[in-house]
Amino acid sequence: MTSATDAPENPLPFRSRSRRAASGGAIGWLRANLFSSIPSSAISLLLIFLLAKACVSFVQWGYWNAIWTVPGNQTSACRAIRGLGACWAVIPEKYRFILFGTYPFDQQWRPALAILTFIALFFLSSRHSWWRRELVLVWVAALVVIGLLMWGGIFGLPYVSQDRWGGLPVTLILATFGLAFGFPLGIVVALGRRSKLPAIRSLCVLYVELIRGVPLISLLFMASVMFPLFMPDGVNIDKLLRAQIAFVLYAGAYLAEVMRGGLQAVPRGQHEAADALGLSYWRKNGLIILPQAIRHVIPPLVNTFLAFFKDTSLVLIIGIFDLLTTAKTAIIDPAWQSFSVEIYLFVGSIYFAFCFAMSRYSRRLEAQGKPT
């Protein structure tokens, strides 16, 4: 997809007339941008009316009529105003469960720290000055630290098994490990798809097209139902790990397509020059081609990662406790059953915070042009 910038100086005929007239303070701005013609004024008035109405009813529901705390588990006050006002009391009651699932309560600082490690890792990876080979080591180190924090078992941390994990860390783990392992896989498959060897090329095409042709849910079903069938007796792989493997395979296929675009953008002369130097296939790709290709595809990579982050929510269907599943489970509690809208708004704002940051970031990269 082409760039998604919303630069204000777009040379667009729709806006050109208004821009010329845009002078002379607030009134001038209003005339130019909201009331430039009769149809435009009508639209503006209608939108202002609808927006005001929506705002008033939302503020009424979410603030004026809302209940912020309830004594104990007594939700009768909340039920009385159902439909008229929000019951935000459900959030402080349930947020620990939504964020961390059934992780032992007194140990929940560990997943919290893991979340912070993830955020630090994303932040570091987004810095232009950090795009070096050492970043790979940073990723390995961060992922190891996260594993240690979540599992424990050493340094005096009690061991917590995977089926107690839940909430935001699981969402982040599925997305990030999927990317971390799917990326090398995607590179190999993308190289294979451009290979001159027909057998390797067709294997790679088969893999990519099969995975991209079917919905993610069917892959997750495969991981949860079919995978145990394909394993020899006695081999029992944890459900989370199986879903993680499905995510890696899924990510590999999509990232291979992104990488293929990057490889195609590297000029032919680079290949020829590397060949002329007598570099082997792997040295040519590792030293010359891939570093250039990866830089080309950083914005689409961020977009693909954003899509994975959203797609991890699908594990709800196979019963893994990610952020969305814990939210849905939190409102099974009979006392809080009818306040799902509040919970979904809360969880939605967490997803939105991560996704919005990523989409802003990729847009900024695209606006800067191809990073060199």
Binding site: T2, L197, V214, S218, M231, G348
Partner: protein, 395 residues
């Protein structure tokens, strides 16, 4: 070709290095294919062993057995006494029902929002931008669950919300007035479709003739005859009834009319709004990709804005729009499988139930994959054909 290398030396070196490269290539291919075959064989032998331990017979014989699963929202006649094959077909129809209508509505809504983003009205373009940003940055499954919860929170059928007379929105879903479709109606609709196709062919011929002599030939008389006249004649001849039945509230539910169940409606709304946000971005960047000079030149000729948009800008924008649009359509179809989360029985949901009832995991998932690969391939072919039609013809 002149070369300073002596002939014999070249002959000696070249074949050896060539065969080295060839040998290496052959070796790699044999190794990779060998590993792939070994892994698949190993997995398969495990599966055969495990299935025999669990006494599950492989093969598609189970399709002929009685399904015994209820399907609440089926367009084809179906009862739990029917076979699994019938259940699968009902599931495929349910998937197509939500996907096709979803694609049409998402395209319309997405195009409108994409154009709104380019509006000179600041408020309109900002609101469109917010819509796109919010919907793109939330997981579809979350949105789907949210819509479904809102649907369930609607008033009961007795106190249904009635925006227009005959349209009821309640926790029973959306009920609309409808026309009962019988065989005669299908004939008339088929006639109109044939008429449309004939009109399309005719219009191309008329335009071709206009290009020869410059005489504009109106299309509308033919349109009147082919699309309105002939179907009306058939309808009159067969005595087809086109009376609209209004839904009525009887007891706790509605009778008559067309009911969209809350599951279907929530899924449709979620898919349409989510996909329309992506389509809006595609449409916007497609229109922006048309160079400004095209507008200026057309305006300088004194053409109307609507004419410029329709005949000069859109044909050029479509070339940019169609390839990413195809992948959005494919995404919508794949995303329709989220139906299983709200209990709308699409193909994935029915395959999942089958899998739980019979244990035929491999067959059920193979069927899902087959259906989706077929649909994806069909859409790709259709869109590639359309893309080839609008592509730039270099003279």
């Amino acid at each position: 070709m002149t070369t300073s290398t002596p002939e014999p030396a070249r002959r000696k070196r070249l074949p050896i290095s060539l065969s080295n490269e060839r040998l290496a290539g052959l070796f790699w291919q044999i190794a990779v294919v060998g590993i792939a075959i070994a892994v698949v064989t190993w997995l398969w032998s495990n599966a055969v062993h495990n299935l025999s331990v669990r006494r599950i017979s492989t093969g598609f014989a189970f399709l002929g057995r009685e399904a015994g699963m209820p399907i609440a929202d089926a367009w084809l006649s179906y009862s739990p006494k029917n076979t699994y094959l019938r259940a699968f077909i009902v599931g495929i129809v349910n998937t197509l029902r939500v996907a096709v209508i979803g694609i049409v509505l998402a395209t319309v809504l997405g195009t409108m929002i994409g154009i709104a983003r380019l509006s000179s009205n600041w408020l309109l373009s900002r609101l469109a931008a917010v819509y796109v940003e919010v919907l793109r940055d939330l997981p579809l499954l979350l949105q789907l669950l949210f819509w479904y919860v809102l649907m369930q929170g609607l008033p009961a059928a007795r106190t249904a919300w009635i925006p227009i007379d005959g349209v009821y929105l309640s926790n029973r879903g959306l009920v609309l007035p409808s026309i009962p479709i019988e065989e005669g109606n299908l004939w008339v609709i088929g006639m109109a479709a044939v008429g449309l196709m004939a009109l399309y062919a005719l219009r191309r011929r008329l335009i071709a003739r206009q290009l020869l002599d410059g005489q504009p030939r109106p299309v509308w008389p033919y349109a009147l005859v082919l699309v309105v006249g002939l179907p009306a004649l058939v309808s009159w001849g067969l005595g087809v009834s086109w009376t609209i039945t209004m839904p009525e509230l009887r007891g706790f539910n509605f009778v008559g009319g067309l009911t969209l169940t809350p599951e279907y409606f929530a899924l449709l709304v979620a898919l349409v709004t989510y996909t329309s946000a992506f389509i809006a971005e595609i449409v916007r960047s497609g229109i922006q990709a048309v160079p400004r000079g095209q507008w200026d030149a057309a305006m300088a000729l004194g053409l109307r804005r609507s004419f410029v948009l329709q005949h000069i800008v859109m044909p050029q924008a479509l070339r940019v729009i169609i390839p990413p649009m195809t992948s959005q359509y494919l995404n919508l179809i794949k995303n329709s499988s989220l139906a299983v989360a709200v209990g709308y029985q699409d193909i994935v949901s029915i395959a999942n139930t089958t899998l739980n009832q019979t244990g035929q995991a491999i067959e059920a998932i193979a069927l899902i994959m087959l259906v989706f690969l077929t649909i994806s391939l069909g859409i790709s072919l259709l869109m590639n054909w359309y893309n080839a039609r609008v592509a730039l013809v270099e003279r």
